[in-house]
């Protein structure tokens, strides 16, 4: 059975995590799916590690060190693409 998670769902889940657990509910920061975390100064190095830990725990995969890049993690949309890619890979491994 293919367990597909929609982009919008990932965006919503990750946004919720960042807002509550990293930004600690700060009301003066709004996140759109294309906002760059780097440019908005939303994450520091500890925040990135916490985000990675969340993704690994919540979606059930391991982030390799060389996958922790702005290309994969700098926006909600890029995270969604990254997560979907990892899940697809994981599913392919299971089927194989």
């Amino acid at each position: 059975m293919i367990n597909k998670i929609e982009t919008a769902d990932i965006v919503k889940e990750v946004e919720g995590y960042i807002t509550q657990s990293i930004l600690l509910g700060a009301s003066n920061v709004s996140l759109s799916p294309e906002d760059s975390f780097l440019q908005k100064g939303i994450l520091d190095s500890t925040g990135v590690l916490e985000l990675v830990a969340f993704l690994e725990g919540h979606y059930g995969f391991i982030c390799q060190d060389d996958e922790i890049t702005p290309e994969n993690l700098d926006t909600l949309n890029s995270i969604a693409t990254y997560v979907q890619g990892k899940l697809k890979l994981s599913l392919s491994s299971e089927i194989a």
């Binding site: 700060a26 100064g41 190095s45 922790i68 890049t69 702005p70």
Partner: protein, 523 residues
């Protein structure tokens, strides 16, 4: 080691760091970013645009100019543009809360603020507090303001040289730094002091025009600024990468850009050692790495030295009040002087002294005093605090240390408990004040606990009011309302009562043992 007194002898003002290489080799690369390279000629032209904009705003010699931008060509242009216009640069931490930024601007009467478009929300916050701003200068058009503040876009300015007269002993930069009282103090440095320090660093790092440093440290931090100063002094270059939260990407960029040097604080190297493939550090062009900004775990020094060999790793020590650098350890001496921060840099003297400055015998532990051309002139507008730390031409560092029989300095702690964590200086009393505002908190004590990643970890011991409760998350969230992330305690320990002496004074020394004996828990 090069003879530091002979290095760039004609440079007497900060703007000479740009004027000289631009005159000699205008097409030589000065800055590299992810998107483009800037040569010295282009950088000088942009700097002149900023200086002309400041001149058009009525800037008088010695007027302070706030710089609120992240690292990039615009910051560097605005920085040198300020000097070209005769102003005094006040670099600002763009991650600071608006209230603190407004306090700094108020303290040194900044009327002109140079910002990047991304900082507009910050400015909105600043304007809600009392300050004296009359001009906002930005790279591009920001739009007309309706609150009496005038705007100037640098893009619209031609960029002609301005004639100004300056003395090398006059203020060039004011760096605000936290003191034990929690109120930021404006460390005022002259052109001469910064250039003297720059020459010394160039000397012991043996920098030349082929050197290129990877810049991840912010320019508003004196250690970060020293990378720019030193490399421009020799006609070298700076590769700017603001993505160190993704360290592997920065390492790849270092290799691709042909960087010969890298500078970091203890948490930088902890990140490299835990999140990166260290073999990537064996970059064929990498010549050296430097470390300052707090105590680095000797075991971590061992790991990095081994990873980058034969490239060299310099452990260094300094203070903003010393224009950044006071001592360095020759890498080869780490073997027999493990844990030392080395000997004074050229032009600097160090002694271990009593409260009155009387020198103590070799091996004694006491306060570190420093003397040299690189010392600050004053804390801006704060004669009392200046007189307390600048005594008979010596700077009281506030750090405890000892000097061994060969003249090597070992840091033993801090006199007044300033926390140095992840490259930042954090005042315990500032965090304690914020915690004290939480309705459940009776009293709080904050300190730095040695940590291999952060250098020191901001940690809090609390007693709560009778019947009150508070979770770690609630306390952290409360702190987040008033403090930037790096100041929020990472650990909270709850006790029935904070330890006090017979006279009622908080006994900070015994707090350390609390972290070893009391388990962290929340009601």
């Amino acid at each position: 080691m090069l003879e530091h007194a002979s290095i760039a002898p004609k440079m007497t003002l900060m703007q000479d760091l740009l004027l000289y290489p631009a005159a000699q080799s205008p097409e030589r690369t000065a800055l590299m970013t992810l998107d483009e390279n800037w040569d010295f000629g282009r950088l000088l032209h942009r700097a002149r645009q900023y200086s002309q904009a400041l001149d058009a705003s009525g800037l008088a010699n010695g007027d302070r100019v706030g710089l609120l931008m992240e690292n990039g060509p615009q910051y560097v242009s605005a920085y040198f543009g300020t000097f070209l216009a005769g102003g005094v640069a006040v670099p600002l931490d763009y991650k600071s809360q608006s209230e603190k930024l407004a306090a700094i601007l108020r303290d040194c009467h900044v009327r002109r603020l140079v910002i990047a478009p991304l900082q507009v929300p910050n400015v909105v916050g600043i304007l809600e507090h009392k300050q004296h701003l009359t001009w906002i200068i930005s790279p591009s058009e920001l739009g007309v303001r309706s609150d009496g503040i005038k705007c100037l876009s640098v893009d619209a300015i031609e960029g002609m040289p301005i004639n100004i007269r300056q003395d090398h002993s006059s203020p060039a930069v004011i760096n605000y730094t936290s003191g034990s009282s929690g109120l930021p103090k404006g460390v005022t440095m002259s052109h001469r002091a910064i250039l003297a320090n720059t020459r010394s660093i160039v000397s012991y790092l043996e920098l030349n025009a082929d050197d290129r440093v990877m810049q991840i440290l912010p320019f508003f931090y004196c250690y970060g600024a020293s990378l720019l100063h030193t490399h421009f002094m020799v006609g070298g270059s700076v590769a700017i990468d603001n993505r160190f939260i993704y360290p592997s990407s920065v390492l790849s960029n270092m290799e691709k850009s042909g960087c010969t040097g890298f500078a970091g604080v203890p948490s930088t190297f902890h990140t490299l050692s835990t999140k990166c493939d260290l073999s990537k550090l064996r970059n064929s062009k990498l010549r050296y790495m430097t470390q300052a900004g707090g105590r680095m775990d000797p075991q971590l020094v061992d790991v990095i030295r081994s990873a980058i060999a034969p490239s060299r790793f310099f452990v260094m020590y300094g203070q903003t009040e010393a224009s950044s650098r006071l001592t360095f350890l020759q890498p080869e001496r780490w073997i027999d002087k493990r844990g030392s921060v080395g000997k004074p840099i050229p032009g600097v003297s160090i002694k271990i002294g009593t409260e009155s400055g009387r020198e103590l015998p070799c091996g004694s532990v006491g306060e570190i005093w420093a003397q040299g051309e690189n010392l600050m002139t004053e804390y801006w507008g704060n004669a009392d605090e200046t007189a307390r730390v600048l005594v008979d031409g010596w700077l009281r560092t506030g750090d405890l240390g000892r000097i061994d029989e060969e003249g090597f300095l070992f840091i033993e702690g801090r006199v007044k408990g300033i926390i140095k964590s992840r490259g930042y200086r954090i005042s315990p009393s500032e965090v304690e004040d914020v915690l004290g505002r939480h309705p459940a908190v009776y009293e709080a004590a904050v300190m730095g606990i040695p940590d291999s990643q952060d250098g020191e970890q901001v940690s809090a011991v609390l007693s709560l009011k009778q019947g009150a409760s508070a979770s770690e998350t609630e306390l952290a969230k409360h702190c987040r309302m008033f403090l930037p992330a790096y100041k929020i305690p990472r650990r909270f320990v709850l006790v029935p009562e904070l330890p006090k002496s017979a006279s009622g004074k908080l006994q900070r020394e015994s707090l350390l043992t609390l972290f070893q004996t009391v388990s962290e828990k929340f009601l």
